[in-house]
Amino acid sequence: MTEEIVIKDKYVIKKEPFKYTKTHEWVLKQEDGTWLYGITGYAATELGELAFVEFPEVGDTFEAEESMGVIEALKTVSDYYAPFDCEVVEIHEELEDDANIIHEDCYGEGWILKVKPTNGTDTLITAEEYAEIVKKEIEH
């Protein structure tokens, strides 16, 4: 099982091979070269109960840090961003019927997209680096 960092007894961050973005998303490289993508436990917890996920379309391309879509929680909305320059290969349609799968298993069954990098993946950060970001935000 993947090792985890746990912050304040509630925010789980999975270590290698999971990688992260500064905007609270995780990615996991797949065997076929695509990357699985979702939002972190911290992001999900902060959003609270989810209402809907707006997806991009398969084939859409994005630059790193560009908004790919929107997650609607009950009282707020949040964009989710491209982890690196990429193309959307698959969307997790099941989330349309139940967005809260993200809460049940945000690093597994709660994946949102599968993307293909078009220009390398240098923009990613490690689990440890991401954990520092979360710690700083909590203190704020």
Binding site: F52, E72, A73, K75, V77, E96
Partner: protein, 465 residues
């Protein structure tokens, strides 16, 4: 008028001098002006406001009634004017309910538990609109039909994402065209007009199908259209739109829906219009109105519907239902620049008024008023034909038709005066060539045979002069 009092007291201001003194003392201040101490000198207004002095309620009443007395109402002269608003009668019971301060002086129900009156009534409004239009869901109103059309166009662009063209019928009311053009001017949406057939006044089907090409996100028609023509051949166009995955938007005359088929029953995705003709309110010189916006339910698409939506929900007490604003995350107060629309205050009380009206009229009332309008319009058309005045389009119509009067533009004013002398508002002038004017006539259910006969008589007299 008013005498300037040094200790100014007014019925709309709650505090007395004593209150002021006590509150200032508790705040440790000498005067209210100290609360304005942070206002820079430069920007304080030091002049004399050119605003009238205060008046007593009686004087205000006299003043406004005197102003209004210079108007002539449709209760005094016979009105053949339509164009999106209709001369309707508001039952006393409806107005009585509208005068309940619990309804009119309440705010948007952001605390639903104490605002079930508003929410429950709005849910009923939404439901009645859905019944009338054969749709699943409706919002709590847009400002009016015209802005509803603008919003619908923007919505089709949001739904389709890819594509930037919106088709609309040339037989759209001119004022609605103007608002549509304005609303899409900020988006990168190109408007393309679909011509109508010169004989029938109906949408040119071939042209419509040809225009429904790559990059088109939506198509809009009106039924009946601006000229009153019933678009009974539109289903072919709708079929192609659906094949090409183009959103079908229809603007309907809500008052016709007792007689004419509901848009949800012939393939329309988004139906818009105004509830004023079905009793939201009287003419009111064009405002307030009540923009209707309804659609079939779709998990994704309904989230793109602008405006407020009321849904039903649970409370802690088992079996006790309640109503609440739902899908608020799409609205401006949460989604801000990503909102489906900037609309906040809408026409909620007019929606509630519509619910009162439809509850009073019932299906029988809607049918009867529709029939009256139909009979009036068709009788008038025939009587005009007898004196040689034809309708421009030879198609089926409901309560509106365009007569081939061809008044030259330099005689238009004279004609208007002529008809006014006979206590008639003759209709909306419409010109194909800017040289000669035809008239668009709408017959409300308030007109009687004598009024229609008088209209014909007047035209005969005009022609003889």
């Amino acid at each position: 008028m008013g005498v300037f009092l040094s200790n100014f007291s007014h019925p709309y201001i709650a505090n007395s001098e004593q209150d002021k003194e006590e509150m200032l003392t508790e705040l440790g201040l000498n005067s209210i002006d100290e609360l304005y101490s942070d206002i820079p000198e430069n920007i304080r207004f030091k002049g004399e406001l050119k605003v009238p002095h205060f008046q007593s309620e009686f004087e205000v009443k006299e003043h406004i009634e005197k102003l209004l007395s210079k108007n002539i109402s449709t209760r005094e002269y016979r009105s053949f004017l339509g164009g999106g608003v209709l001369d309707v009668y508001i039952p006393a019971a409806q107005d009585e309910l509208l005068r309940r301060t619990e309804f009119y002086s309440a705010y948007t129900p952001y605390q639903p538990e104490t605002s079930q009156g508003t929410l429950h009534t709005l849910f009923e409004y939404q439901s009645m609109i859905c019944e009338l239009l054969a749709m699943d869901t409706a919002n709590c109103t847009m400002y009016d039909w015209a802005t509803g059309l603008g919003e619908a166009a923007l919505m089709t662009a949001r739904i389709k994402k890819k594509g930037n063209k919106f088709l609309y019928t040339a037989a759209t009311a001119p004022n609605r065209k103007e608002v549509l053009k304005n609303y899409v001017s900020g988006a990168k949406l190109e408007l393309i007009e679909i011509p109508y057939d010169k004989e029938t006044g109906k949408m040119d089907k071939e042209k419509a199908i040809e225009l429904m090409s790559e990059g088109v996100v939506g198509i809009y028609f009106e039924n009946p259209n601006y000229f009153g023509v019933v678009e009974d051949e539109i289903e072919e166009v709708i079929k192609v739109a659906k094949e090409r995955k183009i959103v079908v938007v229809a603007g309907v005359d809500t008052s016709s829906l007792g007689i004419i088929e509901a848009p949800g029953n012939y393939g329309v995705d988004i139906a818009i219009g105004d509830a004023q003709p079905i009793g939201a309110g009287p003419l009111n010189f064009g405002g307030p109105l009540a923009g209707v916006f309804a659609m079939k339910f779709d998990k994704k698409w309904t989230r793109q519907m602008p405006g407020r939506i009321v849904g039903i929900t649970l409370t802690p007490k088992k079996g006790k239902w309640a109503f609440t604003n739902t899908l608020q995350t799409r609205e401006q107060h949460i989604k801000r620049f990503r909102a489906t629309s900037n609309i906040c205050t809408n026409e909620a009380l007019m929606a509630m008024s519509t619910a009162f009206h439809l509850a009073l009229l019932g299906p029988q009332g809607i049918k009867e008023t529709g029939e009256s309008m139909y009979y009036n319009a068709h009788y008038l058309k025939e009587e005009l034909e007898k004196i040689g005045v034809k309708t421009v389009f030879n198609s089926e119509f409901f309560n509106t038709f365009l007569i081939d009067l061809k008044i030259p533009k330099d005689k238009k004013e004279e004609f208007t005066k002529f008809m006014l002398e006979r206590k008639i508002f003759a209709g909306i002038p419409f010109s194909f060539d800017v040289e000669n004017y035809d008239y668009l006539i709408t017959t409300s259910y308030l007109l009687k045979k004598k009024d229609l006969d008088d209209y014909v008589k007047a035209i005969v007299e005009w022609r003889n002069e």
